[in-house]
């Protein structure tokens, strides 16, 4: 476990809402998010920012390398050290993790983390193709592959092993879309309004890759977010309600999900493996199989150890999962230790993860409803957690905002590929 040199906190987040299309281009969108941050942290002077940690995923989507340089210059921060972090869907949480390392180690005191993605310049099928080039292009991509299909196949396996149903996936979709209707920056609201949806709407939703329907899949977005992170000596200048980082864990897994049938890296977790149902014939493989997300499992263990979390279900007031497909959310209930392996379905059936439940998950509406411009994604939901722990959700989202009462501890997950890389960050307020 790393030695805690000093405490580090999130001091605020500025948002330019995600939407299917913006007239503004990426640098203008980031500038709007930065303006929003400056309004919330009026003391923040450019001189105080030691470095810029930029989060964006794709060079292909806008056919622009080194977009980070454009952003840094556009914000007038080009005299400072600047870095780009890129790890697929893991990019924005990785930017947070790396900024944390640099501040916690004492190298910098204040880091600005701008994140963005402009995903709709090319058609949806081409965006899917470009995103799928994060998969192994010699092996997984040529077989008609893209991430919807990969994740659908992973969920098919999990469903076969542990018996959740399409209805369970529908319940998660309904929960998240309805949560999203209470969020001020929701893309779902922008496109479809605030009317709640029901399971009937889910059953009418079109098939993408079985078992996933349109409502189970992340949306395509354009949007930006700027998060401010600082060491404890500086925090008070920027906010009265810092969100302290208490644990940071990162994990990785095989590049190709198909290689997880021989995944030696997680043999240590065999003791946790439930016995496979009798009807599942060979090949049976140990955790994570092609079903669960071991990278996030170890990331959570590492973060929990630093934060002193022993029972996440009880110790945490809410969680924001990076779940581009609803089966991922169900698997992560298990991988993050809210329940045992194979028991994820009970968490949604029994309402544990609903707003008002014991541990609400994705109160923000998250990736399938509220927005997923990759580089900004985990920054949006970190900002959302900042509002929650500060008790400001209603101030930010209006009287309908879903404030978790007395929220003190929260966590966020992020990952890329098919769980090839993942991270978990735990937060706590004073």
């Amino acid at each position: 476990m790393p030695k805690a040199n000093r405490r580090v906190a999130i001091c605020g987040g500025g948002i330019f809402r995600p939407d299917l299309w913006h007239g503004e281009n990426a640098e203008e969108g980031v500038a709007i998010a930065y303006q929003d941050l400056l309004r919330q942290c009026p003391n923040l002077e450019a001189d105080e920012i030691d470095a810029v940690m930029m989060s964006y995923f794709s060079d292909h989507l806008n056919q622009q390398l080194c977009m980070g340089w454009i952003i840094q210059d556009y914000l007038g921060l080009h005299g400072k050290p600047g870095y780009r972090v890129e790890s697929g869907g893991s990019t924005p949480i990785d930017a947070l993790v790396n900024a944390y390392y640099l501040i916690q180690s004492g190298f910098f005191d204040v880091i600005l983390i701008p994140g963005w993605e402009w995903m709709c310049e090319v058609d949806v099928a081409s965006t899917n193709e470009m995103i799928a080039s994060a998969a192994d292009t010699d092996w997984d991509f040529p077989v008609g592959g893209y991430y919807n299909a990969y994740y659908a196949a992973l969920e098919t396996r999990h469903m076969q092993l542990y018996g959740e149903t399409c209805e369970d996936l529908g319940r998660i979709a309904v929960k998240n879309h309805n949560n999203s209707t209470h969020v001020s920056f929701s893309q779902w609201v922008s496109q479809h309004g605030t009317a709640p949806i029901t399971l009937d709407d889910y059953w009418k939703s079109r098939l993408v890759c079985w078992p996933y329907r349109v409502l189970n899949n992340a949306v395509m977005s354009e949007g930006a977010c700027c998060v401010l992170m600082a060491a404890e000596e500086k925090v008070k200048r920027f906010t009265d309600t810092p969100m302290w980082i208490t644990g940071v864990g990162v994990g990785t897994d095989s590049m190709r999900p198909g290689d997880r049938t021989a995944d030696f890296a997680y043999e240590g977790f065999k003791d946790e493996a439930r016995i496979y149902p009798d009807f599942v014939k060979l090949p049976r493989t140990p955790y994570p199989d092609m079903a669960n997300f071991a990278s996030l499992h170890v990331a959570a263990k590492r973060a929990y150890a630093q934060a002193g979390i022993t029972n996440p279900l009880k110790d945490m007031d809410l969680m924001e999962f990076f779940a581009p497909y609803d089966g991922v959310e169900l698997c992560l209930y298990e991988d993050l230790g809210l329940c045992g392996r194979g028991e994820g379905k009970h968490m949604i059936r029994e309402g544990v993860v609903e707003y008002g439940g014991e541990c609400p998950v994705n109160v923000s509406g998250a990736l399938t409803a509220t927005g997923h411009p990759v580089g900004a994604t985990s920054l949006y939901y970190t900002t959302f957690l900042f509002w929650q722990l500060a008790g400001k959700t209603k101030e930010k989202c209006g009287q309908d905002g879903l404030q978790v009462p007395n929220a003190k501890r929260a966590l966020i997950t992020g990952h890329g590929g098919t769980g090839c890389q993942g991270a978990v960050i735990t937060f706590e307020r004073d």
Partner: protein, 271 residues
Amino acid sequence: MAEEKGLTETKLTVRQIKRGREKKYRDYPVVADNSTVAHELWEPIVHLGLWDIKGHQVVKGPWGGGTIEEAMRRPPKEFMVIDRASFAFYSHSYGLVSPFFRGLLEGKLMGTRCPKCGTVYCPPRAHCWKPECKVADCFENWIDLPLTGIIHTFTVQCLAAAPFEYMLPFSMGWVQVDGADTTLPTLLHIPPKEIFIGKKVKFEFVPEGKRKGDLMDLYAVAMVRGEKVPEWACLQRDPEAMEFVETSMKATLEFIKNRYGIDNGPEARGW
């Protein structure tokens, strides 16, 4: 129609550039040359004009931060949106696992075996990934694998990335080739109503002249025709799910017929 007018008048300029082959591989001999004319003439194929602006639109839309309601209350602004294309043509080496792909051309399925731990890789790895084997060379240990295996997991696609859209609807999955420890991404030429995890399959190859040297050269079919689907199978045990998949596939077939003029129906495809 406006689009047709744009196309026929001035918008699409295909540059016919003839040029010699770039010297890409130093002085190493090309011992087999199965490249096509695209190797020299790729540019018009890929680019239809490098970075040329093919036209533009002006879109009047909301702007600025805050909520969508706040943005919509502002007088809209006009955004100029240009259309431009750019990509490249890659000559990519399959590296030390090239024998696998040359094997596909010959209708063979091969894997590598680690000389130290004995793990059989298909997809092959040129070097073992197990730390105790210290990146052992596996690329001299090729083994012929049987053309049989077991479906480890699968999906049925009614939407696809751009290059594969014309094939819709189709199923893909991961098949563990008999004798291998890892699983191979595979197209499944099996009707969804017969696909289940644990099903035995055999590999077949596309006709010899049509093989290109990637995983599209082969596909899996049922080992036993008309095999009974077990009652626990996750797709078929839910009759509504199965019916939904069938309906969705029919709609997808229509979509592909309209967009590409291709009939991917079972009669036309033969599976």
